[in-house]
Amino acid sequence: MPYSDIFKDHIAHPRNAGELADADVIAEETNPVCGDRLRISLRIRDGHIEEARFLAYGCPPTLACGSAIAEMIHRVTIDDAARLTKNQIAEAVGGLPSRKQHAASLAIETLQAALARHAGEDRD
């Protein structure tokens, strides 16, 4: 399956790339099999993700899904972000072949890890 235009655009022009210096929470997940890595940093205010940034290493779907999720969670409520699914991420990059679905899973897992860590820190 050839990559879609929107996919290639995420690769060429990654959205919200980088890392927040004043992040409230940072999470990084690694695919233990292929070594792909995704790091998400969030600044959270009043139940909203005020700023989101991503860094990614690995195959192009991992980079594109990192860019897509960083764009999708920017300025949304934590609750809305928590409801995102891997299918929505895959759709946002123009669809992924089944053998590349792990990239969308890594994006969701990294976001969930960040939100869980933030929730834990809030309780503390």
Partner: protein
């Protein structure tokens, strides 16, 4: 957008002169080379001429050349054909760790069927050592298959030395030892003389030397017996049944003829462009590792690992800028298959994943090099800017990554 093709090890464009030679055989000269009538004789004469041209490229006799559908089929025929014919004499095969998948794949299958396989290491220069070949030979070894030049890093293997070793072994009474070399990447790029090399079998492919896809050849030295893998016809002296693809074979012959005549000129051109490309890349991009011996390699190939990033992302970036290159790694279903060739050099997974092959051709220009280097520089910078690996090493101050 400018288009720059730097993937000539994958395939080459068809030379206009080659196309001209083959076109009549796609139109009015449509005969079956096995037919007795004049249409058939015309096709037969063309196939015979092409056989002489291909034989001449490797200093073989025409009747030692068997046409196939390509390099993969030639490798299959060589390995399976010899192993099946020599099954009563031994069950041990020696190959290098960096053979093309069409050799590795056949050998993996033979291994499942009970053959024993020794895979020779290549060390960090990507070259097989003759001492290792010598040490691997056992009384039941029937086949040594070592490629003439590697498809990913271009390193040229000590084929003539292996050939001499095999000859000595035979003189010592090891009569059932055969030597095959996959010369698909080397043909048309280095002079090949099967008499000097002393190989028994040698594989070739048309589309690597500016002919279309669909033809290849296996040199089978006179007297070497192998079991045909395709039966049901008398073509190719009973060694490969099936109607000859006359137009593709004619093109292969014409391309072999041109490759032989223009070999020095093509090498000079690609070596100049490749060396200039590497010098520019080294001066503009930090944290790179060049793969394979710098001297003992094909003139048109450059393989470079770019640290902190992954090759396929780089490939897409370059493709979007009109530059076509290759990577040897593949990631699917969440499992990573980093290039076995780069891994065989002792490189770690990150370097194997970040390896890109640039392969130049006779029609590339200085402007292509300039454009590709600029595109590459932008692509690497962009990918490193989002790489957590690059960030970590900047923050610890241990590497010289450009500011991203």
């Amino acid at each position: 957008m400018r288009k720059v093709y730097l993937d000539h090890s994958a395939t080459t464009p068809i030379d206009a002169r080659v196309l001209e030679a083959m076109l009549p055989f796609l139109a009015e000269k449509f005969g079956n080379a096995s037919s007795v009538h004049m249409f058939g004789q015309e096709a037969r004469a063309a196939v015979d001429k092409a056989r002489r041209q291909v034989a001449s490229l490797i200093e073989a006799r025409a009747n030692e050349v068997v046409f196939t559908s390509g390099g993969t089929e030639a490798n299959n025929l060589a390995l399976r054909g010899i192993c099946e014919a020599a099954i009563t004499q031994g069950r041990h095969i020696i190959i290098s760790a960096i053979e093309h998948p069409s050799v590795r794949g056949v050998v993996d299958e033979l291994e499942k069927d009970g053959w024993e396989v020794t895979r020779l290491p290549v060390y960090d220069d990507g070259i097989v050592r003759i001492e290792d070949v010598r040490a691997a030979i056992r009384p039941d070894t029937i086949l040594i298959s070592v490629m003439m030049a590697n498809n990913e890093i271009g390193t040229i293997q000590p084929i003539a030395e292996i050939g001499a070793l095999v000859r000595k072994e035979r003189e010592r009474g090891h009569r059932h030892l055969w030597f095959h070399s996959d010369a698909v990447q080397a043909a048309g790029r280095v002079p090949i003389d099967v008499q000097t090399i002393g190989c028994d079998l040698l594989s070739l492919s048309a589309h690597k030397i500016y002919a279309p896809k669909g033809a290849g050849a296996l040199f089978i030295r006179r007297g070497v017996r192998l079991t045909p893998q395709q039966v049901g016809g008398h073509q190719e002296r009973e060694r490969r049944a099936g109607t000859e693809s006359v137009a593709n074979i004619v093109a292969f012959g014409a391309a072999a003829d041109l490759a032989q005549k223009e070999l020095d000129e093509r090498n000079e051109q690609t070596r100049y462009l490749r060396d200039r490309f590497e010098a520019e890349v080294e001066s503009q991009i930090n944290d790179i590792v060049r793969n394979g011996d710098r001297e003992q390699r094909l003139s048109h190939v450059s393989n470079i690992s770019f640290r902190f990033i992954e090759g396929e992302g780089l490939l897409i970036h370059l493709d979007m800028q009109g530059v076509a290159v290759s990577t040897g790694s593949a990631c699917s279903s969440g499992t990573l298959e980093p290039s076995p060739v780069i891994r065989a050099l002792g490189r770690n997974e990150e370097l194997a994943r970040g390896a890109i092959r640039f392969s130049f051709g006779k029609d590339n220009t200085n402007e292509d090099v300039d454009y590709a280097v600029a595109a590459l520089s932008r692509a690497v910078e962009s990918l490193r800017a989002i790489s957590p690996l690059a960030r970590e090493l900047i923050s610890t101050g241990t590497q010289s990554v450009p500011s991203v």
